[in-house]
């Protein structure tokens, strides 16, 4: 299955044009408005216990021109739609940031800017995805690259024809774009995938020659994984049958990063089937690791935000149902500390690559799920 339906550029152009036409007709004799599927949030997502996926309960919202609360977003959506059509027509792409800058200007009469911050245009682009039922890459809008892949894996760009081996590109590996539908996995020589939260650890492991010594593919999301990274993880698991292990900080943010890779995010819940990897396993850092690996002296005190987030996680159905995870979260609250991946360097720089990871990965059945 693919992330997007195979729709042609023409089809995208038609969808945008129909969208605009209906609105124009509404102005002629009706109430100008458009409908869209409301973005996923805690209230309108559905947790599928069986599939262990977060799915979206499709609910329709609408934006009306004559509603003073909506008129700004309404107008912004038309702006983005117009730029998207132009991009697709001329077969060019623009990044999220570019879209923001290209469309930002001051509207006369009211003297306000079309967009104040990039957040605004990012959100409108997402709205348009849900309105037209496409992903932004189909509108030729791409996110900035974030995340990288390193290992003995050969990839090919179908559009351009290039091929490359991700272990031969230097210390940084290959920067994963936000959409990889045109990327083909040509060859692969590895036993498992290790997803690492922080770039610093990613580079540490490469320096220690971990991927070579353990026959692993390393991926970093550089924090919360982008769509491209998630998609890559999903494809490596389901197209190439590689087990996936996730290694993050021992704090609520790390736990959530793992959770999203595993079962999808609320925000992008309409894509969970394609982005999530339900049987990804969690390596660490766990609260037990603190004791196990003598890290008491290098823990960090939880701050108010952390505590608030821990409590939020404990309320998510997919955490609530897991005794193991509730145990971890309760331990965290009780001990009042968090532990970072880098804490392992307390013992030595190579500890994480030589001792910690190999030990943990040798007993995959003991890992958190």
């Amino acid at each position: 299955m693919e992330l997007k339906e195979k729709i042609s550029r023409n089809e995208i152009i038609n969808r945008i044009t129909s969208f605009a036409k209906k609105i124009y007709e509404d102005f002629v004799s009706g109430n100008p408005k458009f409908e869209f599927i409301v973005r996923g949030n805690l209230k309108n997502i559905e947790y599928d216990h069986y599939k262990d996926l977060i799915l979206l309960k499709k609910r329709l919202g609408q934006r009306e021109f004559f509603n003073v609360g909506h008129v700004r977003k309404f107008t912004q959506t038309i702006l983005v739609a117009a730029l998207a059509k132009e991009l697709v027509k001329t077969n060019k792409t623009a990044s999220l940031r570019e879209v923001y800058y290209q469309l930002k200007h001051t509207i006369p009469i009211i003297e306000v800017n079309t967009f104040e911050e990039q957040d605004e245009s990012d959100a409108v682009i997402e709205d348009l995805e849900r309105t037209l039922n496409v992903i932004r890459e189909q509108m030729h809008i791409k996110a900035e690259r974030r995340g990288a892949i390193y290992g003995d894996i050969v990839l090919r760009d179908k559009r351009r024809g290039d091929e490359w081996n991700c272990s031969k590109l230097g210390m940084g590996g290959w920067a994963v774009p936000s959409e990889i539908e045109n990327i083909e996995i040509v060859d692969l020589n590895a036993d498992f995938v290790l997803v690492v939260e922080k770039e610093a650890l990613f580079e540490r492991l490469i320096e220690e020659k971990f991927p070579e010594k353990n026959n692993a593919i390393l991926i970093t999301g550089q924090g919360q994984a982008s769509r491209g990274v998630k998609r890559m993880i999903h494809r490596l698991r389901y197209e190439k049958n590689l087990p996936v292990y996730v290694f993050t900080d021992g704090d609520p943010w790390g736990f959530y990063i793992y959770s999203v890779i595993k079962r999808g995010s609320m925000k992008l819940s309409q894509f969970s089937e394609l982005l999530a990897t339900p049987d990804a396993k969690f390596v660490g850092m766990t609260m037990d690791d603190i004791e196990e690996y003598d890290l008491k002296k290098v823990t960090i005190k939880l701050n108010e935000r952390d505590i608030k987030r821990v409590n939020e996680l404990m309320n998510y159905p997919w955490f609530r149902k897991s005794k193991e995870w509730i145990k971890q979260l309760e331990m965290m609250l009780k001990m009042k500390v968090k532990v970072e991946q880098d804490a392992l360097a307390r013992h030595s720089l190579s500890f994480v690559a030589e001792k910690y990871l190999p030990e943990k990965l040798s007993n995959p059945e003991k890992l958190l799920n």
Partner: protein, 581 residues
């Protein structure tokens, strides 16, 4: 009906008065009468003279022209001068009025008009005598005499009789009227509870009078009359309840009736022959006795029983109200507000005695802050606000709920003037000085209801103003975003942006017409103007509310005018029932 406590107090005061000399009584009760301190004493003196003048004019249906002058003579010594165009005082009555105390005729409670709320002109004479040793000077002229008469009078404190220091005939320019001059100890200040404020409020409550005022700083202000109708005072037979015992005694002594029985049912309203008979039987007084022959003990006994007997209430027409149209006009002229409303409630009853509450509220315009103005029988109440029923009622209002800026338990910070007038034949005051109305629940509740009535209208107006200012913003927004939308839609649809712009602008104008309709629906003023075919005025009002739209060149003034005009025409032809909602 007065309470037994009130009856007891009344009798005690009377007995005390009968026993001690005037001077002693006055000294003992000075504070009760309002002569607390020099500042207040000056005010009371002016108040008494002005009230007398207004009363005199009203009784003779003359539109009052009153001139007040206060001159500083020395430190703390002021000359107070009040001149009126009243009927004048019969020359031989002047000494008694200004030179002797008649207990009860002007001391204690009201009977009907404001003057009887006062303390009596002779109190001023005595106060002047005691503080500056000066006599009171009275010049008066009646129409049927060629010359006026001028008196200088003092009081013989021991015998309670006038001492005529001077008396002579003089020529004056007036055909009729009275001038009173008194030199007294006082203190003039400005601001709250000052004479300036008092005169302003008196002018507000007496829009039929023209009042000129020259203050000690040499500043002159003229309050020109706003209406030409003089309030009609229905002279009525007094109702026995609330009449003071001194008045009762005087009525007995002056009565022309042969028997005490006929005195009772002929002198008073609400007393039938049968009731009079019953009362006399209870008082153990012979029905045929000559009223003039009753001794003190019998007077007191009869008075007490009269007060304690249940009687019919006074008919409502004897209550003098200002009228809501007059209140509104007066507020408009004196405060220059954006909006005003006034109501006169139907009579309510307290202890069997009817009273009427009138409320006038003025909002915005030249008003800068909240003011609560209290009036009892058209006399401004300046002191003891904390004790007053009016204040208590105003405090009960949840101002915030009406859309005003107020914290719980406090008056609002908005520019509102709330004028409350309580009128009755008899009002219970908290003390002898009659500065605050007793906050009995029936009275407080009625005032509260009255304020709420008026406040609803003000609240609606304020809300409308807020919505209206938003109308301009709403359409600026819509036109701004609309033009932007037009441009980008035309890019997607590959058509001429001007065409799409036209469509969008037309659609927005249609929406604007709907909103104009809504505004008219919600504003009584506009509905009335349209009903009266004053279309031009209505259009102007609406234009004013939306001038931001043509100021910023979004639509032309003409277009806006046409739009409004069309909407009004639509109402008249299609939606006529809106006008009557």
């Amino acid at each position: 009906m007065p309470t037994s406590k009130e009856i007891k107090e009344e009798i005690q005061l009377y007995e005390t008065f009968k026993r001690v000399s005037i001077a002693e009584f006055f000294e003992r009760n000075r504070h009760l009468l309002g002569f607390d301190n020099p500042k207040k004493s000056l005010l009371i003196a002016v108040k008494e003279l002005v009230d007398n003048s207004l009363d005199a004019c009203e009784e003779h249906q003359i539109l009052p022209e009153i001139k007040i002058k206060i001159e500083k003579q020395e430190e703390n010594i002021y000359k107070v001068s009040v001149e009126d165009n009243g009927p004048g005082i019969p020359y031989d009555l002047v000494p008694d009025i200004y030179g002797s105390f008649l207990f009860g005729s002007k001391f204690h409670r009201f009977i009907s008009s404001r003057g009887k709320q006062g303390i009596g002109a002779s109190a001023i004479t005595l106060y002047s005598q005691l503080t500056t040793r000066e006599p009171i000077e009275v010049i008066t002229k009646v129409p049927n005499k060629d010359k006026a008469i001028k008196y200088k009078i003092k009081i013989d404190v021991k015998t309670n009789t006038p001492i005529i220091i001077e008396k002579k005939e003089i020529e004056i320019k007036k055909d009729h009227g009275t001038i009173v001059n008194a030199i007294i100890l006082g203190q003039y200040t400005r601001g709250k509870q000052s004479i300036d404020e008092y005169i302003f409020l008196t002018a507000l409550a007496n829009p039929h009078a023209t009042i000129q005022y020259l203050n000690p700083d040499g500043e002159k202000v003229i309050y020109k009359r706003i209406v030409d109708t003089i309030p009609k005072l229905y002279e009525t037979k007094p109702h026995p309840h609330g009449i003071e015992i001194g008045v009762f005694e005087r009525l007995l002594k002056e009565s022309k009736e042969k028997t005490i029985l006929s005195f009772l049912y002929k002198t008073f309203s609400s007393v039938s022959q049968e009731t009079a008979s019953k009362i006399l039987k209870k008082a153990k007084i012979d029905e045929n006795k000559d009223p003039k022959s009753l001794n003190d003990e019998e007077i007191i006994r009869l008075y007490r029983i009269l007060q304690e007997t249940k009687l019919r209430a006074i008919p409502k027409k004897y209550i003098t109200t200002l009228g809501y149209e007059t209140i509104k006009k007066s507020l408009d002229v004196m405060f220059n507000p954006d909006f005003s409303v006034a109501i006169t409630r139907r009579p309510s009853v307290y202890r069997g005695i009817p009273f009427i509450v009138e409320v006038g509220i003025a909002y915005g315009g030249k008003i800068s802050e909240f003011q609560l103005l209290r009036f009892a029988n058209r006399v401004p109440l300046l002191y003891k606000a904390g004790e007053c029923a009016i204040t208590a009622a105003a405090k009960e209002i949840n101002w915030k709920r009406y859309g005003f800026n107020a914290e719980e338990g406090y008056f609002p910070k908005d520019p509102i003037v709330v004028m409350i007038h309580v009128a009755s034949v008899w009002l219970p005051f908290t003390s002898e000085s009659k500065e605050a109305i007793s906050p009995y629940p029936e009275i407080v509740n009625e005032i509260e209801l009255a304020i709420k009535n008026a406040l609803r209208e003000v609240s609606l107006y304020v809300k409308k103003v807020k919505t209206l200012s938003n109308i301009s913003n709403k359409y600026l927004s819509l036109f701004g975003y609309g033009l932007e939308t037009a441009e980008y839609l035309s890019k997607i649809l590959d058509t001429d942006s001007k065409e799409i712009e036209k469509v969008i602008i037309e659609r927005i104008k249609k929406e604007l017409k709907n909103d104009i309709l809504e505004i008219i629906k919600s504003m009584r003023e506009l509905k009335n103007l349209i009903k009266e075919n004053k279309d031009k005025e209505a259009i102007k009002m609406l234009e004013n509310m939306m001038k931001d739209l043509y100021d910023k060149d979004i639509i032309s003034k003409n277009e806006l005018y046409e739009l409004i005009k069309q909407t009004i025409e639509d109402i008249k032809s299609k939606y006529t029932k809106i006008l009557n909602e």
